[in-house]
């Protein structure tokens, strides 16, 4: 019945309740006890004074019979256990129980001890010292005894009986003992009530808490966990019903929001994935299906022309031709679809594209208090780009920039310039193949967010992998083991184990074996990756020499990108914006720049800002 949370809550709260109740009960009973005893003490003291005073007259008259009668009468009261008067020597003179008369008590007895410690009777004692509480047996109820000394007064030694000389200070002692049974009973029942009350309240509390926890936490959490299971099974349209306005209600709403966003993102990825794969598929399908369709259509329509005088065959052939034409339209639709993602490049002024992106975002930039600083180079050549796609690149970059800055306001700087760059350290390797045509790019291990070239190594018999920096000449390679030029090195394709070592050449710097990779359509890449050396040579691009690029830098004064996520920023679905982002912005930029032979790089310092640098070639090959 109880989930773990309710069990924890109930046991904790019950424990607390037990502690509080028992502390309270102990304190309350203790106080009650003290109060009652004090009252009884005062009462008993007053009683003993009353007895002393009421016997005084008969004592002075030395009328023993009367004194005796008074003591006896008093002793008959139910709560009084015994009343007796002792003389100085400890002999019982009067007692309610007349059998005790004449007994001599030992002064050293426990009851007498408080006064007669050193055989020296004390003259005055406080009430508390004169009172003693004790039990006859450990099981019996408590007994309270009070001793009231009878002091010598002028009236005593002047009385006609001359029973007491003047020099005597204390004539005797009135000893009154009272039974505390009723008080004890009362206290005991109070304790029982208290314990019962505590027990019932704790049980009640636990039940109420249990029900509340189930209602407030258990049921909503069950609904939430059921919803996660439903969503995990692929039903993104599932919505958790309204769960109120508490934290769990907020969680449910944010869960619904998340699934909706996820569904949208999935749809978007599905869409772009569909676009990409359909594009690839369309080319193949179109060619493969259109060829046999051509055979059918040409023959059938040719026959159709020649059978105009044979209506039966003619009609059947018409169906064949009609249906083949229908198939033709279907394939054409497929090709139309594939066509949408191809960039339409025209000579464009890059500044116009940036300005248009800024105009689109004008409202948001004002809202975020962003100051936009433009350092546009006045004499940039027009370049061949798809203006719509490139505008998307800048829209996404500027959006990221002001979101990194936040509402506090800041500055975005966009600077353009013309640079001539040697391919070394700039150009990105986007595709690399082994001699058998296996793709060597590794999407998982990335350097600065870019997919790396993965090669398998056998160094002195030990198998390991190296991830080559995709930027030609930068060589920030990820090596799992150190490799030296004098090691026995084998370089293999991770998929087919074919050797990638160039049998004809050695590294011109360190004489280690070098790899040679095919870059489809762009020659061969050779290089060395020993720990000491970083030689690389790409024949195709080196022959073309340095190229002119338009450089566009988009900088912000925002929160920066922590180094640990730097590798992921171009991953589809990677986002730092939580539910606000779909994680496709940078991936889209990436795809568009790839279509334009562009290069993008990032520099960032946490809390200082980020700069994205884009290089677009002026002359497209």
């Amino acid at each position: 019945m109880f989930s773990k949370i309710s069990l924890k809550l109930i046991s904790t709260i019950s424990l607390m309740a037990i502690l509080i109740f028992s502390g309270f009960a102990y304190y309350s009973i203790h106080t009650q006890d003290t109060l009652l005893l004090n009252q009884i003490k005062n009462f008993v003291n007053a009683e003993s004074e009353t007895i002393k005073n009421s016997t005084k007259v008969s004592m002075l008259a030395n009328d023993r019979e009367v004194t005796h009668e008074i003591i006896k009468t008093i002793g008959q009261q139910p709560f009084i256990r015994q009343v007796r008067i002792l003389n100085k020597e400890g002999k019982v003179i009067y007692a309610a129980d007349s059998s005790q008369i004449g007994q001599v008590l030992d002064k050293k007895a426990e009851a007498c001890y408080s006064c007669h410690t050193s055989d020296q009777p004390l003259t005055r004692l406080s009430i508390s010292k004169r009172i003693r509480i004790y039990r006859l047996h450990p099981d019996s109820s408590r007994i309270l005894g009070i001793i009231n000394p009878i002091y010598n007064e002028p009236s005593c030694w002047q009385a006609p009986c001359h029973a007491h000389p003047r020099s005597q200070k204390i004539l005797g002692v009135l000893d009154l003992t009272v039974c505390l049974k009723s008080v004890d009973n009362e206290l005991n029942s109070a304790k029982k009530h208290m314990a019962l009350f505590a027990l019932f309240s704790i049980f009640g509390l636990a039940v109420v808490l249990g029900i509340l926890v189930k209602q407030i936490i258990g049921i909503p959490v069950k609904k939430l966990s059921e919803a996660t299971k439903i969503v995990a099974s692929g039903n993104f349209s599932y919505k958790i019903p309204e769960l109120g306005n508490d934290e769990l209600g907020v969680l449910a709403r944010s869960f619904n929001h998340m699934t909706q966003k996820l569904a949208e993102a999935r749809q978007q990825l599905f869409q772009s994935d569909k676009m990409a794969s359909l594009g690839r598929l369309a080319a193949g399908v179109a060619h493969e299906i259109n060829n046999p369709l051509t055979g059918i259509l040409t023959y059938a329509s040719f026959l159709l022309k020649r059978t105009k005088d044979q209506p039966d065959i003619h009609r059947d052939l018409e169906v064949i031709v009609r249906e083949t034409l229908r198939s033709r339209e279907i394939v054409k639709g497929l090709l139309d679809f594939a066509r949408q993602s191809i960039p339409k490049k025209v000579k464009t002024d890059i500044h116009q594209v940036i300005e248009r992106a800024l105009t689109v975002l004008e409202n948001q930039l004002t809202l975020y208090h962003i100051q936009v600083e433009k350092h546009f180079s006045p004499d940039l050549p027009q370049i061949l780009i798809d203006p719509n796609q490139m505008q998307q690149v800048f829209t996404n970059l500027i959006e990221n920039a002001y979101q990194a800055i936040g509402k506090k306001g800041g500055k975005i700087t966009i600077a353009t310039s013309l640079t001539r760059l040697s391919p070394y350290g700039i150009l990105q390797i986007k595709q690399a193949l082994c001699p058998k045509g296996h793709e060597l790019m590794d999407q998982e291990t990335r350097i600065d967010g870019l997919p790396t070239v993965k090669l398998k190594l056998r160094v002195n018999g030990k198998e390991t992998f190296v991830y080559l920096d995709p930027i030609y000449g930068k060589n920030r390679n990820k090596l799992e083991l150190p490799v030296h030029a004098d090691d026995k090195i084998e370089i293999l394709c991770p998929k087919c184990n074919i050797s990638l070592i160039d049998p004809k050449e050695k590294c011109p710097r360190c004489d280690a074996p070098i790899y040679v990779l095919e870059i489809p359509g762009k020659g061969e890449l050779r290089g060395c990756f020993t720990s000491e050396c970083s030689w690389q040579y790409w024949d195709y691009v080196e022959q073309q020499g340095p190229r002119d690029y338009i450089e566009i830098k988009v900088s912000d004064t925002g929160c920066g990108i922590p180094p640990e996520i730097m590798d992921k920023i171009f991953d589809p679905f990677f986002t730092t914006k939580g539910q606000e982002g779909n994680g496709l912005g940078m991936a889209v930029i990436w795809g568009i720049l790839e279509n334009h032979e562009g290069i993008i790089s990032v520099e960032s310092q946490v809390n200082k800002g980020t700069t994205f640098t884009i290089h677009l070639p002026v002359n497209v090959r």
Partner: protein, 266 residues
């Protein structure tokens, strides 16, 4: 002029298509040589003189564009009609841009391939006659106005001051197809796409010819007069005989594929 022996070179990697072409052409009395590779085709073209070549774009040894380049490099004067199963705008306009005279998307019917071939043969005839009489150009060809641009030899476009584009068929196209019996135009607001058919012309010889749109855009006006009086076309193809007025879609991008009107046979 249809009586003379026509020779055709067909290049396609699918034997069934070559067979089909052979059947259709034989029925017309034309001579067809078929090869499955571009290299083989080039050799044949060097040895023999063909009137026309029908060439697939996707071929095993080289693509159709490389074939066109090689033809040009070797100085072989052969009119080529490109055909492909991968019928994209890029392929269509690139073919024309690289010197093909026509573009025929696969799959085609017997009539479609026939009308394309008829157009091709007549085009070659006109071109030869034109080259023989270069001194008297005007006697054969009515040149298009200088500010006009055309796609292939077939369709023209003219950018107006308001940004709209007027579209029509060239004099050469009309001369090639012969007298027009009827025209089937696209409806208002339809999209026409550069390199794809935008109008259907039925000639007196009952062949149906598709006109490739010179530019992409949405049709905002149609020359309704043409439907009743198709003869206006032949009388005045560049002014009274316009087909559509369209709002261009990707003018800047597509302009590079339409050339100026200096030499329509180029």
């Amino acid at each position: 002029m249809e009586k003379q022996l026509r020779t055709l070179l067909a290049i396609d990697d699918e034997p069934v298509i070559l067979d089909a072409i052979q059947r259709v052409c034989s029925a017309e009395g034309w001579h067809v040589d078929t090869v499955t590779g571009a290299t083989e085709g080039l050799e044949l073209a060097r040895k023999k003189s063909y009137d026309l070549c029908l060439c697939d774009i996707m071929l095993p040894d080289m693509d159709g564009f490389q074939f066109l380049e090689k033809l040009h490099e070797s100085g072989i004067d052969l009119a080529v009609i490109m055909t492909t199963g991968f019928a994209t705008i890029e392929n269509a306009v690139k073919s024309l841009d690289m010197g093909a005279i026509d573009y025929l998307p696969k799959p085609f019917t017997a009539d479609e391939v026939l009308s394309a071939l008829y157009r091709g043969f007549r085009y070659v005839d006109l071109k030869r006659r034109h080259e023989e009489n270069t001194a008297q150009v005007d006697s054969i060809i009515v040149p298009c106005p200088t500010q006009y641009r055309h796609l292939g030899y077939q369709s023209w476009m003219h950018l107006d001051f308001d940004g709209s584009v007027k579209v029509g068929a060239t004099y050469l196209f009309l001369a090639v197809i012969g007298s027009v019996k009827s025209i089937k135009l696209q409806p208002l607001e339809a999209e026409i796409i550069q390199g794809f058919s935008c109008a259907e012309f039925e000639a007196e010889d009952e062949l149906i010819h598709q006109l490739m749109a010179p530019i992409s855009g949405q049709i905002i006006r149609i020359n309704e007069q043409l439907k009743d009086e198709p003869s206006i076309l032949e009388k005045d193809p560049y002014f009274e005989g316009w087909l559509y007025v369209v709002v261009p879609k990707d003018l800047n991008y597509e302009l590079k594929y339409v050339s100026g009107c200096h030499n329509i046979f180029a």
